[in-house]
C-alpha cells in the first residue's frame, strides 16, 4: 500500500518536473548478432544482466545535432536517430545494427551492455567513428575492426577477430575460448596480450619488422609433413616473415597474432 502511494507520488513528481523520456525499453526478438558502427565517441562494451541490452550515453540531447529542415522527415538514405541517443538501431533478420550519424562528432561516451549469447561485431573503420573501443568482461564472440582507433579489452575469452590498421591492440583474456580460433592483427600498431599461464593454444606469432616477445614457452612444431600428395616427400618451405609458431601448454585452439611493423608482446599472467 505504502509502495503504491509512493509510486503515485513519484509519477506525480515526474509529471510535475516535466521529466523527459530519456530511458525507455524496447523488445527485439531473435537477436543473434549485434553490429556496432560509426559510434560518435568512445565506446565501452560490457556484459549486461538478464538478457537485456542497454545503451548509455553522457551526451546531452541538445548536443545531438539536428538539422532544422529535416524536422518531421525521416532520412531515406542514411540512418537516423531512433533511440534518442544520437544512434540508430535497425533490425534485419537476427542482426541488429547500431550506428551513428555521418558527422564528425566524437564527443560522447557510449556504453553498450550486451547479453552473453550474442555475437558482437564492431566496425570503426568509418572515418566518422570514434578513436577508442574498450571491451570489458565479455564472454562473447568478438569481431573488432578499426583504422587508427585503439582496441582495449580486459577479461574477455574470445573467440576474437581483431584488426586495426594503426591502432594498438592491448588487453587481457580471462580464458581462451577453445571452440574457434582467435586472430589478432595490427598493421602498424603494437599487440600486447596477456593470457592465463595455463592457456592451451596453437600459436602463430608473426611480425614483419617488429619484435616478438613471449612469456610463454612455445614448443616448436616438428617440421610439417606436407599433406599435398603431389609434393610427395619434399619438405615444406616454412616461414613467411618473422614467424614463431608452436604449441603452448600442449596445444589447443589456434591463436594468431600478426603485425607488420608493430611489436608483439605475448604475456602470461
Amino acid at each position: 500500500m505504502k509502495h503504491t502511494i509512493l509510486v503515485i507520488i513519484i509519477f506525480w513528481l515526474a509529471w510535475q518536473t516535466g521529466l523527459s523520456q530519456n530511458q525507455y525499453e524496447t523488445k527485439i526478438p531473435n537477436i543473434r548478432k549485434v553490429l556496432i558502427e560509426k559510434i560518435p565517441g568512445t565506446l565501452l562494451i560490457e556484459q549486461s544482466q538478464n538478457n537485456v541490452f542497454k545503451i548509455e550515453t553522457d551526451k546531452e540531447p541538445s548536443e545531438i545535432v539536428e538539422d532544422e529542415r529535416t524536422r518531421g522527415l525521416k532520412p531515406v538514405t542514411s540512418s537516423y536517430d531512433n533511440t534518442g541517443l544520437g544512434l540508430s538501431l535497425v533490425q534485419s533478420g537476427s542482426n541488429v545494427t547500431i550506428s551513428g550519424p555521418n558527422q564528425f562528432d566524437a564527443t560522447g561516451n557510449y556504453t553498450i551492455f550486451l547479453p552473453p549469447e550474442v555475437e558482437v561485431s564492431v566496425d570503426l573503420t568509418n572515418p566518422f567513428s570514434g578513436q577508442l573501443v574498450e571491451i570489458r568482461g565479455l564472454k562473447n564472440s568478438l569481431e573488432v575492426k578499426t583504422l587508427s582507433g585503439d582496441i582495449k579489452f580486459s577479461n574477455i575469452t574470445g573467440p576474437t577477430v581483431f584488426h586495426s590498421i594503426s591502432g594498438n591492440i592491448e588487453g587481457s583474456f580471462s580464458d581462451l575460448n577453445q571452440e574457434a580460433p582467435s586472430s589478432i592483427i595490427s598493421i602498424s600498431g603494437l599487440i600486447d596480450l596477456a593470457m592465463p599461464s595455463n592457456t592451451k593454444a596453437e600459436v602463430k606469432l608473426m611480425s614483419v619488422s617488429g619484435k616478438i616477445y613471449s612469456g610463454f614457452e612455445i614448443e616448436k612444431e616438428k617440421p610439417n609433413k606436407n599433406k599435398d600428395p603431389r609434393a610427395g616427400e619434399l619438405a615444406q618451405i616454412s616461414g613467411i616473415g618473422q614467424k614463431t609458431s608452436g604449441k603452448i601448454n600442449g596445444g589447443g585452439t589456434s591463436l594468431i597474432l600478426q603485425s607488420i611493423s608493430g611489436n608483439i608482446y605475448f604475456r602470461n599472467k
Binding site: 523488445k27 545503451i55 581483431f162 598493421i187 614483419v208
Partner: protein, 273 residues
C-alpha cells in the same frame, strides 16, 4: 526569562566532585543513558544539589536552543536544487534497454545436433564397413567429415566460425580442388581481413600447384590490406612466381602503397627479375 538565567548563574557554584556522574547529566536529560546509568544518576541527584542545579541549567539551555529559529536558506535554494535535478535527468546517462529473446538458440542447437548426428552416422558407417578396410579409409572418412563441416561453416556469418572452417581445410588430407577453390574464394572475398589472411596461410601448402599460384598472384592484385599483400608476396617469391611482377611494379610505383609493402615488393622484384 533573563532574570531566571541570572538567578541560576548566581546560585550555581557547580562544585560537585563526582565528575563521572556529572558528565552523564546531559545524556540523562536526553534519555540517552542505559537503565543502570540512569539509576546511578538519579541516586546521585537525590543528595547532590549542585548537580540538580546544573541539570536545571542544562534544561534551560536546551529550551533556549529549541526556541531559536533556524535561519531560512536563500529563497532560490529550491529552484537551484530543481535545476540540478533536471540536469541529472539529461546528461546523467541516457539509455535505452532492449530485452533479447533467445529463441534462435534453439535453431542453433538443432543445427549442432544435426551435424553431430551426421558425423556419428559417417563414423559409424566407416566403422561397420571398415572391419576389413584400412585405417587410411577411416582417415579418409574423417577428412570427408571435416570437408562437410568446412563447407557448412565457411558460409557462416561469424568470422570466428569462418576461421574455424579455414582451420579444418588445413587439416584435410589430400585436399580436393573443391577445398582449394573455397579457400581461394575466401581469400578474395571474405569481409574479414583476418579470415582472408588465414585462408592465405592455408593455401600455402597448395602453392606447389601452378594453377593455385596463378590464382594467388591474381589475388595479390586485388588485395588492399598491407598484411595480406606482404604475406602473398613472401609466399609467391618462394615459388619464384613471376606472374606477379606487374603487380609488384604497380605496388612500388603507387604512392598509396604501404611503406613496408613497397619495400617487400622491391626486394621481391630484385629476386624475380
Amino acid at each position: 526569562m533573563k532574570k531566571r538565567i541570572i538567578d541560576y548563574q548566581k546560585t550555581d557554584t557547580m562544585k560537585c566532585n563526582n565528575t563521572q556522574i556529572n558528565a552523564l547529566l546531559t545524556a540523562y536529560l536526553d534519555n540517552a543513558l542505559t537503565p543502570e546509568e540512569s539509576k546511578m544518576v538519579e541516586a546521585h541527584l537525590n543528595d547532590c544539589s549542585d548537580c540538580l542545579d546544573e541539570l536545571q541549567e542544562i534544561r534551560t539551555l536546551h529550551l533556549q536552543i529549541e526556541h531559536t529559529p533556524l535561519i531560512d536558506p536563500p529563497t532560490d535554494a529550491e529552484r537551484r536544487f530543481r535545476q540540478m535535478l533536471e540536469k541529472q535527468h539529461k546528461p546523467q546517462k541516457q539509455s535505452i534497454t532492449i530485452t533479447v529473446d533467445f529463441s534462435w538458440k534453439k535453431i542453433a542447437a538443432a543445427i549442432i545436433i544435426f551435424l553431430a548426428g551426421a558425423a556419428t552416422v559417417l563414423l559409424f558407417q566407416s566403422k561397420t564397413d571398415s572391419d576389413t578396410s584400412s585405417i587410411a579409409h577411416l582417415e579418409n572418412q574423417v577428412s570427408q567429415m571435416r570437408q562437410v563441416l568446412m563447407t557448412a561453416l565457411i558460409k557462416n556469418d561469424s568470422p570466428s566460425d569462418r576461421l574455424k572452417a579455414v582451420q579444418y581445410a588445413e587439416q584435410i588430407s589430400g585436399p580436393s580442388p573443391e577445398v582449394t577453390n573455397i579457400l581461394l574464394e575466401t581469400l578474395n572475398h571474405d569481409p574479414s581481413v583476418n579470415v582472408r589472411l588465414a585462408a592465405a596461410n592455408a593455401l600455402h601448402q597448395f602453392a606447389v600447384h601452378q594453377e593455385v599460384r596463378t590464382k594467388l598472384a591474381q589475388s595479390l592484385q586485388q588485395q588492399s590490406d598491407p598484411m595480406l599483400q606482404i604475406v602473398l608476396i613472401k609466399m609467391l617469391v618462394q615459388f619464384h612466381e613471376r606472374s606477379m611482377v606487374p603487380t609488384l611494379q604497380d605496388f612500388s610505383h603507387d604512392e598509396k602503397t604501404h611503406e613496408m609493402v613497397k619495400k617487400e615488393a622491391e626486394e621481391a622484384l630484385t629476386v624475380l627479375l
